[in-house]
């Protein structure tokens, strides 16, 4: 498929600019994904700091209501569509072909195309700041607020948001097709489906979700575009449309999108815990089935975002939402029992992976409150939901992303990151994260709605908002040791070698960074841990004490 030209294995990040722009190498594209996502992460982070600054004290201090609406809309849009989703796609891009022993993705040029749509889409969305205002109707852009009408979304910002997200969505769809073709057609001999590493499994399930759901989202925003610009009336009740229809179509994508944002992070953690515990993943097949079950159930819960609309059948969506806790619980116990009786090396990737476990657990538990419909009547659209979604997307996805970054950075660059700086970053981020988002539970319970630029000083929300703002800036501060660490490492970090962590999966069987064609030779693939088998011999794979010796 891919015409691989044999180059000497020079460190990829030393390539020329021309090479970066024209590359079709999945590893370079993966790095482009990751760097691009981090740029949008910092933009989204600055917007978050603006939000927290405005809310630190009662009264409007630094921006108007309209600008505030633009800022939190852009914060969520950047973080969801241009950071978390593409960041995890970047891991998939870089690591997955290596893990299955493939020389590249199935369609290298389409891979490059799907990446280059992202910066363009992000740029278009942000362009609104220069054209009189970005989209300001929230990242959900509910109709009729997002319609072109007085006090709605007049101006081009909302249209730029639609066009930008259409590009981002198309990028996701192309990427998903590419992932699926690569996984199904390009696995090395011996790499059966049930020997695939967990990261690859989560990439596979994520790609299926994206392929089924993203076209629905794209059609929703295009219909919104038609309503706004071409006289359509899909979603505007003033012209006979249906406002609830938009929410159904939007959440049919955007709930599965939550799993798009968490599954690959789960896969990353499932790679790290076995390696740093020196044990195989506990219950590999159960884990695979749980991943597939989460993906399947993910399509039947979208209306739990709409419990208060009075327009959905509540018991069904409540039941399905509760049920998703079951496969997620299975994963938790498998993760814990992977570490159980292991020999845990507390390095930075493991710290972030354990941070993922402890924080994502809270995101699961406080989600159960909203699954209970009557309780959701109290909590919906309050800061409790803001706390919940950040425990899932930050406590889950971002901690998983950081774990993966520290884990695969040596493979991508050939250099180690500094452990001390990594641990400083972890502590700052962990403390800041909980300071920011835990108080939001209490704010929401006491009645503070989302998406308000100001609150009364007598409402009793002053202290908790100030704590959250201090925590937010602590998270921002945790980026300093990260950036300094990356800078130091690229300049003069210790050489990593092929396999610095004693890894299990095939990416550790080649050089760091790998040559453009990935592998000079592959080890035999007889289990889901081929590199482990090559290191210790096949006998070490199971022990007499272990219950099912063979899968």
């Amino acid at each position: 498929m891919a015409t691989t030209v044999l180059h000497p294995a020079a460190p990829t990040y030393r390539s020329s600019l021309y090479d970066w722009v024209t590359t079709t190498d999945h590893k370079k594209i993966g790095i482009l994904y990751i760097v691009n996502s981090f740029i949008f992460f910092f933009i989204g982070g600055i917007l978050a700091m603006l939000v927290r600054s405005e809310l630190a004290f009662p009264g409007l201090q630094i921006m108007s209501d309209q600008v505030y609406n633009e800022v939190f809309t852009m914060h969520a849009t950047m973080m969801i569509f241009l950071f978390v989703i593409p960041m995890l796609a970047g891991f998939g891009n870089y690591v997955m072909p290596l893990q299955i022993g493939a020389p590249d993705m199935a369609f290298p040029r389409i891979n490059a195309l799907s990446f280059w749509m992202l910066p363009l889409g992000g740029f278009l969305i942000l362009l609104g700041f220069l054209t009189g205002g970005t989209a300001a109707a929230g990242w959900t852009s509910y109709s009729p607020l997002a319609q072109d009408r007085p006090l709605g979304a007049t101006g081009s910002g909302q249209d730029l948001w639609i066009v930008g997200l259409t590009l981002v969505g198309t990028s996701s769809i192309l990427g998903a097709v590419n992932f699926l073709a690569t996984i199904f057609k390009m696995r090395a001999p011996g790499m059966t489906l049930f020997r695939m590493p967990l990261l690859t499994w989560t990439v596979l399930v994520t790609a299926v979700l994206v392929l089924l759901a993203t076209p629905v989202f794209t059609s929703a925003v295009i219909m919104l575009f038609i309503d706004r610009n071409l006289g359509g009336s899909f979603f505007d009740p003033a012209n006979g449309g249906d406002a609830i229809l938009y929410q159904n179509v939007f959440w049919f994508y955007s709930h599965p999108a939550v799993y798009v944002m968490i599954l690959i992070a789960m896969g990353t953690v499932s790679e790290i815990l076995p390696v740093f515990s020196r044990k195989p993943l506990f219950g590999y097949k159960a884990f695979v089935f749980a991943t597939v079950a989460i993906g399947a159930l993910g399509f039947s819960v979208w209306a739990h975002h709409m419990f208060t609309t009075g327009a959905v059948y509540l018991p069904f969506f409540s039941l399905m939402t509760f049920l998703i806790a079951v496969p997620t619980g299975v994963k938790f116990f498998n993760w814990i029992f992977t570490m159980w009786r292991g020999q845990i090396r507390v390095a930075t990737p493991l710290l972030f992976a354990v941070g993922f476990l402890t924080m994502f657990l809270i995101g699961g538990i406080n989600g159960a409150f909203s699954a209970s419909v009557p309780v959701d009547f109290a909590l919906h659209d309050t800061y409790f939901v803001v706390a919940h979604l950040h425990y899932v997307l930050f406590g889950g996805s971002v901690f998983g992303i950081m774990a993966g970054l520290y884990y695969w950075f040596p493979k991508m660059t050939g250099r180690m990151l500094n452990e001390t700086l990594g641990k400083i970053q972890f502590v700052l981020m962990f403390v800041g994260f909980n300071m920011t988002f835990f108080p939001m539970h209490e704010l929401g319970l006491s009645g503070m709605p989302r998406r308000i630029a100001d609150y009364s000083s007598t409402a009793g929300w002053n202290d908790l908002n100030l704590v959250a703002t201090i925590g937010g800036f602590t998270i921002a501060a945790s980026m300093v040791p990260l950036l300094w660490n990356v800078f130091l490492s690229l300049r003069s970090g210790p050489i990593a070698g092929d396999d610095p962590w004693e890894g299990n999966t095939l990416e550790w069987a080649t050089t760091s960074p790998p040559p453009p064609y990935n592998f000079d030779r592959l080890p035999e693939i007889r289990s889901e841990r081929p590199v482990f088998d090559a290191r210790y011999g096949p006998k070490a794979h199971g022990t007499a004490a272990a219950a099912p010796a063979e899968h």
Binding site: N69, A136, Y142, P144, L145, L151, G152, D242, A243, R278, P280, F282, G283, K285, A286, T308, G310, A311, S318, F322, L323, A325, V326, G329, V330, N334, I336, W340, R341, G342, Q343, I344, R345, V346, A347, L351, F369, S372, P374, V375, F377, A378, H380, D381, T382, K423, I424, V431, L445, S446, G447, P449, R450, R451, I452, D454, D463, G542, T543, A547
Partner: protein
């Protein structure tokens, strides 16, 4: 950190220090190290407010059950994670591999079945509560329509035989157009069943009263309905309400008060409001009510300025008036169902208020008598829509 066998002690110490920091900062901020008081405040802050409706009380009971199950799961699983990580750290002499356990079918079944039972229980009790909270009766004690618009609430008191699906809807008996304050807001009889019809004529809003533990979206194009009964013992209280669905730049301004009256007081209040509304039939053109500092009638008549409100904007946005002379404003509110007024503020629209005209819903006209103003620059603004502004030059 270059020493080869990483024991990870630094990381663990850092983790512990981090946890202590979180707790310490939390304690310091909550209550200056008053441990008992702080503990109580922390625990009560993890619960919703005490419910003032019978429905809200059921939701709060359900919350309490969910909360205690959540707390148990939290401590068991977090404890398991932390204990595992601390207990099974790699020791410097760990050269042999640990037992390579691949899984255990019985364990997998146990931790599939037990969570299934827990969520099944949660689902059943949630459904039971839902069925009692969502009950809507045919003949409630009082029917009220809450109408949401950018960016205000109005509350219409409906006749007992009102039916939103009727071909010709019955006219409300009386409409409360000011949503906040002692003279405005949603006034309801404590101890009686109130059925609320929610209508929006622009975008989606949400009716939310934290002490009801309840909210319901107000969706244009459909009429959402729910019922509530404020407990009799809460008669005489006022509860804060707020729009909970982003509805534009004025979203945070969509506040309202709920006043719970004793039933007898409520009946008297409602009769009085209906009588007043009937006595002064819809805004008489000349009935311009002056604000708190109404102009003395019969003074030297100044000019009459014409102002129109359309699409939540004034036209024109610049006015001129003579100094030290009373004048009139002919105010034409062309926004159907949306209340507006004209209020004059010193210096700019956000300066101190010097005069305020009566708020009324469109389409209607009113003529305001404005008292004499000193020379200078003023801002005029709609009290309901702070982004509707203009400038008034007095010279």
């Amino acid at each position: 950190m270059a020493s080869p066998p990483r024991t990870g002690r630094f990381a663990l110490q850092a983790l512990v220090v981090g946890a202590i920091l979180v707790v310490g900062v939390g304690l310091a901020i909550f209550g200056g190290f008053d441990l008992v008081g702080t503990g109580q405040r922390v625990v009560s802050s993890l619960f919703p407010p005490i419910a003032v409706t019978t429905e809200g009380a059921k939701i709060r009971d359900l919350y309490t059950i969910v909360f205690f199950i959540a707390v148990v799961i939290f401590f068991v699983v977090e404890g398991l994670i932390l204990w595992t990580v601390l207990r099974y750290r790699r020791k410097p002499d760990d050269y042999e591999l640990p037992p390579q356990t691949h899984g255990n079918a019985i364990a997998e079944i146990v931790w599939t079945v037990v969570p299934t039972l827990i969520v099944a229980f949660l689902f059943v009790i949630s459904w039971q509560t839902l069925n009692t909270v969502e009950v809507v009766s045919a003949n409630p004690d009082q029917k009220i329509q809450a109408t949401a618009g950018q960016f205000q609430w109005t509350f219409s008191y409906l006749p007992a035989d009102y039916d939103p699906n009727a071909k010709q809807r019955k006219e409300p008996l009386f409409t409360q157009i000011v949503a906040v304050g002692d003279d405005g807001g949603l006034v309801i009889p404590a101890g009686r069943t109130v059925k609320l019809y929610l209508e929006s004529h622009d975008v989606i809003h949400a009716f939310y009263v934290p002490q009801f533990l309840f909210k319901r979206d107000v969706v244009p194009g459909r009429t959402n309905v729910f019922e509530f009964t404020v407990k009799p013992e809460d008669a005489g209280s006022t509860f804060r309400g707020q729009c909970a669905e982003l509805c534009g730049f004025g979203h945070r301004l969509m506040l309202f008060d709920v006043h719970a009256y004793a039933p007898a007081d409520f009946d008297a209040w409602l009769q009085k409001q209906i009588a007043t509304a009937n006595a002064s039939p819809t805004p008489a053109p000349s009935g311009g009510a002056a604000g708190p500092s109404g102009a003395p009638p019969g003074g030297p008549a100044g000019p009459t300025l014409a102002v129109t409100a359309l699409n939540i904007a004034f036209d024109p946005t610049a006015l001129q008036a003579p100094a030290d002379t009373p004048f009139k404003i002919d105010f034409d509110n062309k926004d159907p169902g949306t209340p507006h007024n004209v209020a004059i503020h010193e210096g700019s629209p956000t300066g101190p208020e010097v005069w305020k005209g009566e708020i009324f819903a469109g389409p209607a006209k009113k003529t305001y008598d404005v008292p004499p103003l000193k020379a200078g620059t003023y801002g005029f603004v709609c009290s309901v829509h702070p982004n509707m502004t203009g400038t008034l030059t007095v010279n």
